[in-house]
Symmetry: C2
Subunit: 239 residues, 2 copies
């Protein structure tokens, strides 16, 4: 059940078996959440953080006019909600975008980890820091990239992140998001998202059928996106 978390943390550094056992004992029962339900409700003060054992989730915020903005996408292995451990009050909702399997880490246990396992603490800290790095990259994409480039960047990022947790097959991966949801990621209208996707298809960069995205020309996609994966810190080194 925790393999994906280990996979996730081990992208950045070695995790000892002692650390793994600490984590295992901090995690309580896994639960199933069905598509469209909240893993986490905005405005609450939960006593635990959520680990996404399997599935896709989106962090979102609803505005007064009913529009929605997705500020993060979480995939298998992501410690979706680790920051609430210190933030206390959760400021955004997190919704299951596919059937999700989740586990919970009690904040008391996490606190104990910070007292007893400094290296593991740093790895967990790093996990929240990488989330921040992704946010910055998204900000750059939203603010200054063309919409085509923005979407291309998103596809590159998701491919790399999913590959790291073994959720790709060749150049294909499953992305269970409707175009409406993609629109809420990119800050666009659905209609326009559709047109941007058509554009990438027309240029032979990707196919996108039945929630399966296949990258046909990685180099060109990277070029359009100006994608540089450094910000994901997928390099194993002492932290």
């Amino acid at each position: 059940m925790l393999e994906t978390l280990f996979l996730h943390l081990e992208r950045h550094d070695v995790v000892s078996s002692y650390e793994k056992s600490l984590l295992s004992s901090a995690m309580v029962q896994t639960r199933h959440i069905s598509t469209g339900q909240d893993l986490v409700t905005s405005g609450t003060r939960p006593p635990h953080s959520v680990l996404l054992v399997d599935g896709f989730a989106a962090r979102y915020k609803l505005l007064a006019d009913g529009s929605r903005q997705i500020s993060a996408l979480h995939v298998t292995g992501d410690f979706v909600d680790l920051h609430v451990f210190l933030l206390r009050t959760i400021d955004h909702g997190v919704m299951a975008m596919s059937p999700c399997q989740v586990a919970y880490a009690d904040h008391d246990d996490l606190k104990r980890i910070t007292e007893e396992a400094p290296h593991l603490t740093r790895l967990l800290w790093l996990s929240t820091i990488v989330d921040g790095a992704i946010h910055r990259e998204w900000l750059v994409a939203m603010g200054r990239r063309s919409k085509k480039s923005h979407l291309a960047h998103l596809i590159c990022e998701l491919f790399v992140r999913l590959r790291a947790v073994e959720r790709v097959e060749g150049w294909s991966f499953r992305l269970p998001l409707s175009q409406t949801s993609i629109a809420d990621v990119l800050g666009l209208s659905v209609v326009h998202v559709n047109r941007v996707i058509q554009g990438l298809r027309r240029e032979g960069l990707i196919t996108w059928v039945n929630q399966i995205i296949t990258i046909l020309d990685w180099d060109k996609l990277v070029e359009v996106a100006e994608f540089d994966p450094t910000y994901l810190s997928l390099r194993k080194e002492p932290r």
Copy 2:
């Protein structure tokens, strides 16, 4: 010299004198950086993190077409660069937007703090987490708010953050950013930024003269911005 850092951390929880002494001994000499210079250069692997003792700085990224996107604004007291401690490679540049006074924290010393001072570690961790929360709020603003609302939100946020480090006077504060820089924050053209500012002025929400912003109608500004300061975690509680 470190008062502003303490002010910064004490917004979230009590900092003991032992913890303050640990921090003090981790910080090395302060240095002056003049406007327009980089505090931190993109792509390098610095051995220390930067504390902004006084001044304004902007985290930015340059794209191939020469455009710039600012992904964060840092003010007096911010631990600008703390995440590099674990990220290792810095992915964005940070530029002084005013004359800046900075101090450096060696990563070895920070590591020692994580080994010996769990509560202080959590506070430092929290500081990076709040940065992330701000990024999310900016993403929402970029993606789904009107430009007027986005700018109003930025003004509200800066006011609250600057008040927390005692850099406001009544309803006024100094913001040493040109409209060009504001444009790079909002992801707009300079021309349009100017028009959006005119709009806020015309409606009697703010004045903005010689880098001094004065809020004339806080309630209305908050309403336009849909501003809710929860994400800044300016509440003192055990962490």
